[in-house]
Symmetry: none
Subunit: 198 residues, 4 copies
């Protein structure tokens, strides 16, 4: 009983070079101008090797994003005990990421890839945004006695709003982040400053 694998071992080095080349191409040209030829050339790899690792353009982009080659979406939400401050800080950190043009391009590429492929979309959800969602939801539940569905809805409202702004090229201004925080914590009737902290 041996699971020994014959033949040359697949080069992890090459795999990483491919992902790095992909990240650079994505940042430079966007999703639909990606060229496997160019990526392979930039990575010093044969095209076949690229296809051996990733069967399609979307899978390549997915892996690129998943492996943290450009989507450093933090999935840890600060917890100082003051929910308003923590939430606002997390949004600010997220916004700072999106302000980097290269990161923004990468996330938009992920969006395009997810829009085109069910598979990529699910992987994107499960391995990238779900983690942030969970962290957010947990922090929210710690701050107020809401059920899980409600916490998730709030978390998705936050993430969704940020991605939407990115998509339509509207900058996430500090005022917008403030308002978003207030809305999620107090709803539209809350006054913003009077919400108790956890």
């Amino acid at each position: 009983m041996s699971d020994s694998r014959r033949g040359r071992t697949r080069s992890e080095t090459t795999r990483r070079a491919i992902l790095e080349a992909t990240r650079d191409e994505l940042a430079a040209n966007g999703y639909d101008k990606l060229s496997i030829d160019r990526i392979a050339a930039a990575a010093g790899a044969g095209k076949q090797t690229v296809y051996r690792w990733y069967p399609s353009k979307s899978a390549l982009v997915a892996e690129c994003v998943l492996d943290g080659y450009g989507f450093p979406l933090t999935n840890s939400v600060p917890d100082t005990g003051v929910i308003r401050r923590d939430l606002r800080d997390w949004l600010g950190t997220f916004a700072d990421l999106l302000a980097h043009p290269q990161t923004a391009a990468l996330i938009r590429a992920s969006t395009a890839a997810a829009a085109e492929s069910d598979d990529v979309a699910v992987r994107f959800y499960k391995h990238v945004t779900a983690a942030a969602e969970d962290a957010l939801a947990e922090r929210l539940r710690a701050a107020a006695p809401v059920d899980d569905t409600r916490a998730v809805a709030a978390a998705e409202a936050l993430i969704g709003a940020m991605l939407y702004r990115l998509l339509v090229r509207q900058p996430a201004t500090p005022q917008f982040l403030d308002s978003l925080t207030d809305t999620v914590l107090s709803g539209i009737q809350g006054t913003g400053g009077t919400v108790p902290t956890s």
Copy 2:
């Protein structure tokens, strides 16, 4: 002053056929598998005619979405006086649209197009989602004394959350819509059922 132009007049019929063919292709194959050749053939038009009307793939998709050939996002929010019911109804209508596979595909295609092109993104925002945003924000302001920024943030949280769910292939269940409504109206501390109506 006459703006009469010499030569044969451009056929509006053909233009509509092109947009319809584009809509069908988008729904069937998604954004990045669009083929101008196929669209022209399906519309019974020459390729040059397509390019005469729309100089690029993104322009074509933008026009397609903008002219209501595929993004029937309602921009009128019901106003029965009960904000919770109105908001929930609007979300339900939106969710019903997204439940249609063809419509979902079209919106995802628009998302991809917006992700790839600044121009399309801005036109998408200005002519499609901004209208819904405004309608939503106005209805929210009528229900509670919030400033404009806050109302806009709330509206974008709603739209963003819905588009995010669509993107990551998570169905917008009635419970989710309820929770989303509650969150935007009352924040995470609201009890949901006790929020006063406008």
Copy 3:
């Protein structure tokens, strides 16, 4: 009743450029190192255009040879009244052609192409060698009262022997040409110098 052909007319100029590039590549690299990519690039044409004219490598080579782009096999046999001299002259002319390295490469390429494709072989026969065969056979019949089959066999013995020598890289020396002439005219029993002329 119109046989009007719609669309842009196919460029004869491009077609000739493709054939010329093919001829050059054949002479330089031989048949199986032909690259359609290189030919297209050298001709300043798109690959699709090459394939539009010629569906395969062998068809391309066939057309190249057929259109006289390198196979100037003379199909006119001199007729001075002296059959021995005429035959020997024709063989000498043929041998001179084969002595050109470029022409030799081209003919070897035709041989390879004919070996690989039935279609090319038949076209090669019908449009290239059959003409020479007929001319030779006719000249032979004018010189001696032989039936057609016999004349054709003699003609093919001549052509076959020359191509065979080319194939196996044996030079066609004057002595060889003399002997070949003698053999075909008198058989192995003839003395060579005593055969009457027509």
Copy 4:
């Protein structure tokens, strides 16, 4: 004195399997569609093993043809004392070989290989056709007082004519073989039936 080599001895069995696989591939697909990958797989060998034995495609084909794995060209000419009958019999045997589709394919493949590679051509000549040539020439000299050059020319006329017919896909009919025999024995002026036998 020992020529023992260290390590595992190279398997003659494998070598033969490679040649047999090559022969089959040649017969099935022709020379330029040969694939070392396919040959190795069919022979149950690794690609490296193929390259260890034969450094190139042409060397492989040459060895295949030379070792009698596909070119069973008889190099013994019958000698009943009657040259016409002997020659005709030899041609008939040759023609029977060529009538076999698989054998014909193999010989055409050899032709293609020889056309493409000087090395293969010379080996093809020296080890395959030269033997037949010599046997033919010797038999001819035994039948008539011709010098060597003349006998060789006659032999090459016979072989060349047969290969030419094969190449251009013209069947070698009995009438053709008769005429070819007559031509070589008597030239175009001989009456065919009156040529004395040796």
